[in-house]
Symmetry: C2
Subunit: 382 residues, 2 copies
Amino acid sequence: MTIKREKPREKFGYDPQKVIKKLEGIGYQILEAVKQGKNPHIDVPMRGISNVYYDEATKTIQMGDKISRRYFLHVAHAKKFMQTVLIAAYIKRLVGEMKHASLREAYYANKHSVGGTKENTFEDQIESNAIIEDLERTLGVLREEMHITADRRGYIYGDITIKDGEDEFNTSKLGMGGWAVPGTVEHLKFTQINVDYALVVETAAMADRLIEEKFPKKENALIIATQGQASRGVRRLIHRLHYEEGLPIIVFTDGDPYGWYIYSTIKQGSINLAYLSDKLATPEAKFVGMTMDDIERYGLQRVTEKLKGIPPNKKGGPTGDYKRILEEMEYPWFKNREWQRQLKMAIKLGVRIEQQALAHKSLEFVAKKYLPEKIANEELLP
Amino acid sequence: MTIKREKPREKFGYDPQKVIKKLEGIGYQILEAVKQGKNPHIDVPMRGISNVYYDEATKTIQMGDKISRRYFLHVAHAKKFMQTVLIAAYIKRLVGEMKHASLREAYYANKHSVGGTKENTFEDQIESNAIIEDLERTLGVLREEMHITADRRGYIYGDITIKDGEDEFNTSKLGMGGWAVPGTVEHLKFTQINVDYALVVETAAMADRLIEEKFPKKENALIIATQGQASRGVRRLIHRLHYEEGLPIIVFTDGDPYGWYIYSTIKQGSINLAYLSDKLATPEAKFVGMTMDDIERYGLQRVTEKLKGIPPNKKGGPTGDYKRILEEMEYPWFKNREWQRQLKMAIKLGVRIEQQALAHKSLEFVAKKYLPEKIANEELLP
């Protein structure tokens, strides 16, 4: 049995004109209210945990339908209303001019005094960030689609050809470096895909190990190095490669609460960003390791590390890693036999196991035995 | 006046055979002592502040000549002696097989029990890291030359063509992504350089701004995004581009103690790594901004941020940013009129200014006015 590319289920959907139309919609609605002598308002879906739920059908975190109405003529709303209109106008200009701005640039660009007063439009970036999130929720578009870029991190390596503007390149022909994933990946076209699946790797050191061992070529895999928690650009790239290109996604992290959290975010999105699940999450992603079973199976007992914090059955516990593992046991997508077993075992053994601990066997081990064997036998966690 | 590429002053010098010879040298010396019935030893240059000095001539931090002798038959030395021999043998194998390992892999690969005892060769990665640093100092080679890779971070974009193994590519033809700089850049060949200088940029958001504004093409510049403190790979790349390819290096960071520290490290190396100054530092790098003068000159008063901590003239001060600035004022390479003026002004104004604050003028401002003007007029700090 080998993992193979599946049939695509989504089509590339980014249309800047649609985003502009949606932004204009807000403007027209306000204008209409003014003309009719009414108090203009904007309806913004509520943020926070009270307005999210786990949807069993799509297996993602989704936003509920609670709305908060923001009025122009309201002493508690007026500033936010003004800020929303300012940022919406700014974004419309960005998208119209095919320009991108970072969250920080958007803040600085819109920070100024309000004519004739000592008031500033924004006092802190927290304010403009919140408005941008509001617009994402209100319009149902990613901030990347509004040309607001997230911090970038991560790179890819493997036999796929990408068209980015006028440039077209194969990400397996860039030496040991690989292609740096930009903050926004909406505009990318995948002109050729000669891999069977994508392997998402937590650490750069492990990704580089696999590149050096020629794993991508031998196993027909695309390597996606997240370099820690996956950036939004990388998560969106993973989503697009899975749904638009049919690439199975297999995640490879350290065997510890942080690694499992990275997997969890790729798979399900975070609660903060629930409203983006449809575009950022990849619930069908699978997990290859590191697992607690690997320790015995591959004789890694000498190269585990102790979990940090106090175990649940000790005085003062649980804290640290133990606390995080117990929290992860409550995630709906970890509520299955396989994951519960892993997480319980971690608490019982009191250890973590890193990807790079596999070097204890030999440098080649991970690329020649560990991954090919587990992936071919589909020994993957859900 | 425009900044132009200079005449190269170093030739590409990496020779794996030389590294192997040096490692074998240690082995032969030990073997010789054993044959002669003597107690084998290894001489390791001492680490730490007591064995470094600032060399006015080369303008870099250099290692002194204090030596610490490590004996095999010595109860306090035996373990370190064994560890040194283990790691040296491991590295010889790596280099011989043209393989690379991360610091962490080197640790795991060499961690095992000592035959017939309950002792482990290494208990913690700190021990193996220290041995690798010892070998760098002892042999006078970078750990990258010994195929031990550092954590990677950073990317480049601009009209240069790189040969990395069998691949050859131009880093201005990779869409908005750019080329991800690997941990080791020793093996890279620069087959074509069509830029006049390299602009080293602290934040990815600013590098991406410049790419979007087509700054690299218009100004004939290579963009090197460090994404925070420059990784060793990026620092080595900067060094090579300057000395081997004659590219002037211009650094662009936030106007705050952390940004100036990033500049300082690129320029002079850190005290920890003094023994690497000759290969990692680029003392001739210059600094374009952000400076304290920029605030008034470009009308950025509304978009500064307050320094953190307590000023030196207030009770309990100096702490935080103020303390760091005062420390930086003591760096030998900042002991000049221009830098003392900047750093004093920062303390006096009590503010910092970010690269992205330039977006307050307009998104294009940094690419169309700020940088071209300052660079053309050579308004650069030493």
